[in-house]
């Protein structure tokens, strides 16, 4: 029967399969009534086509996806969706691969899910990143209008990522900066949690629409709260117990990483709850959050072991100074100026009084 077919096709037991659907529903914040709907959506005979484009990136997001364990994404995504084009995973190569890409785009126009991994190169007409002789920009502008849904995976595809760090020689931008007339779901992170990506896809397959997004296009179920606000080390923050340097007693005791540059208070993501591969996450392992799901990640979030980004001094070429130092110097300078001003006032009074006494001396 259906269960058997499913079993044969997926090498998944029904029990395991339903568990997968249930964890996806839980990740999305949906109730148990959503589980059969998800199960139905992913087992429908017409597998939704997915086209996965790689632009300027390191393939870390694909790597993260391959390491997903629960829901067992590797099996699920490869068997349940029709992955028509993925440069790392597809068997086809060369002209054959490019032909299958365009065939799928034409055949499934308006229906396929377009996934973009990596920043789009816009500098100098996009010449710095070409696949099959076409610039990323051309490929995206050709395929995106025909997509049913667009999902940008990873911080490069969402906000430009490390490619967009100053001075950004390649003009790297996120998909949203190029495709403005269509909603783009941003699964930010470097790499993002694979579960957040999978849950978004399942939501789309189940309900035929995109999940609720925040202002930056990130699904609210995953990026609705700051890391800081559901961090397991938060009680130490409130208590004022901080790690002063890596490896000290506070670090061994699992105290808050705020003073060693944790960006959790400025970063929206569900890492403390979802964790990576259900195993752990950076703060759990004793390293501060580096703020990888936020716009301006890299420029604004570095230095990683400082609380705040450094200030670039406009006069000096490429000189960065801590905001703290600038503030202290400004206040010290003002204090010195005030002291000088006061000294001048006292000096003037003394001079004036001498003048007065010498004037009165003359009169006598």
């Amino acid at each position: 029967m259906k269960e058997k077919e499913l079993h044969g096709k997926l090498s998944l037991s029904r029990r395991r399969f339903l568990k997968v659907c249930a964890s996806a529903a839980a990740a999305l914040g949906l109730g148990s009534e959503a589980v059969p709907k998800i199960a139905e959506a992913v087992t429908s005979p017409k597998r939704p086509p997915v086209i996965w484009l790689h632009f300027m990136e390191c393939t870390g997001c694909s790597e993260s996806l391959l390491r997903a364990d629960s829901p067992d994404l590797a099996t699920l995504i490869l068997d349940l969706v029709s992955l028509d084009y993925h440069e790392t995973l597809m068997a086809a190569a060369g002209h054959q691969a490019e032909k299958s890409l365009m065939d799928s785009v034409e055949a499934n126009a308006g229906k396929f899910v377009l996934v973009v991994e990596g920043a789009v190169c816009t500098g100098d007409g996009g010449v710095y990143c070409k696949v099959a002789g076409k610039t990323n920009l051309e490929t995206l502008e050709e395929i995106a209008p025909k997509a049913g849904a667009i999902i940008a995976v990873g911080t490069c595809a969402t906000f430009g990522g490390i490619q967009a760090a100053a001075p950004n020689p390649t003009g790297a931008v996120g998909v949203r900066d190029v495709i403005k007339n269509k909603p783009v779901v941003n699964i930010a992170g470097c790499p993002p949690s694979p579960n957040n990506f999978l849950s978004t896809v399942l939501y789309y397959l189940t309900y035929g629409r995109l999940p609720a997004l925040d202002e930056l296009g990130r699904p609210k179920f995953a990026y609705g709260r700051k890391i800081h606000d559901h961090c397991e080390r938060r009680p130490h923050f409130d208590e004022g117990r901080f790690v002063e340097s890596f490896g000290d007693e506070g670090h061994k005791a699992g105290y808050c990483l705020y003073k060693v540059g944790c960006k959790g208070p400025a970063t929206f993501a569900n890492c403390p709850v979802q964790r990576f591969c259900d195993v752990n996450w950076p703060v759990g392992a004793g390293h501060g959050c580096i703020g990888c799901t936020e716009p301006g990640f890299w420029d604004r979030m570095s230095p990683f072991y400082e609380h705040l980004p450094d200030v670039r001094i406009p006069a000096g070429d490429g000189i960065y100074v801590e905001a703290e130092k600038i503030g202290k110097w400004a206040v010290a300078g003002a204090a010195a100026a005030l002291a000088g001003h006061a000294a001048l006032g006292v000096g003037k009074k003394v001079l004036d009084s001498r003048k007065c006494s010498s004037d009165s001396g003359k009169e006598d």
Partner: protein, 230 residues
């Protein structure tokens, strides 16, 4: 001094109760915000003692947020007074928008540089101070906007506003912190110049911010003719 040939001073009511309340609420909340804010940015002491609860960061944050609401209320009062306060409190009296005020601006600069001996007999703010206070109010607005964005990051309209102005939490955090130093800077200069004016001027401006009255030379008040005295 010189121009006051008669040697008499008259007591002129200048600051309303509302303005004085604004001033002291603003001043005390600023001090609280600066001190707690510096702690929050970089807590100097780590309480590693686990045998007793300290709750220091949470307490500092509570004080910071409480002071922030006083700060916002004070600023709302100041905005009201800029528009509907008495003639000395209105924005057009203390900014360089008329010939008389531009003269006052330069007079104050010259006076502070010890280049003029004559203290300007003027009931309201001198225009140098008034203009700078306007700037402080503007920076305060920036502090309020960034502070609200940091405090209520998930609240609809605050999030939209913050995203539009700052782009990200980290940027708002940075601006919020950098501007703290402006308030330290301002407080220092303000207190110094008040003491300086109390010494070199005749108005008694320090007692003026408690009493709301200034001592002005009788001759200048008589010459002006529009200043109401007590």
């Amino acid at each position: 001094m010189g121009a006051n040939a008669s040697g008499y001073y008259v007591r002129v009511p200048v600051w309303s109760v509302a303005l004085r309340l604004y001033h002291w609420t603003f001043a005390l909340s600023c001090i609280t915000l600066i001190l707690t804010g510096l702690y929050i940015n970089y807590p100097p002491i780590s309480t590693w003692a686990e045998f007793m609860p300290s709750f220091s960061m949470a307490t500092m944050r509570t004080w910071h947020f409480a002071a922030a609401f006083f700060f916002m209320s004070a600023l709302a009062v100041r905005f009201y007074l800029y528009l509907f306060g008495n003639r000395y409190e209105k924005i057009q009296d203390c900014t360089p928008v008329s010939v008389r005020n531009i003269k006052s601006l330069f007079h104050a600069i010259m006076f502070y540089l010890y280049m003029l001996k004559e203290h300007e007999a003027r009931p309201g703010h001198n225009v140098l101070a008034g203009t700078f206070y306007c700037f402080v109010v503007f920076i305060s607005l920036l502090m309020i906007v960034s502070g609200l964005y940091l405090m209520y990051p998930e609240t609809g309209w605050i999030q939209s506003m913050g995203n539009a102005i700052f782009g990200s939490q980290q940027m708002a955090r940075f601006i919020h912190y950098a501007m703290t130093w402006f308030f330290i800077f301002f407080t220092m200069i303000h207190v110094y110049l008040c003491i300086w004016n109390d010494i070199f001027g005749s108005e008694g401006i320090i007692s003026g911010i408690f009493s709301g009255r200034k001592m002005l030379p009788a001759d200048a008040v008589a010459k002006d003719g529009t200043i109401e005295t007590e």
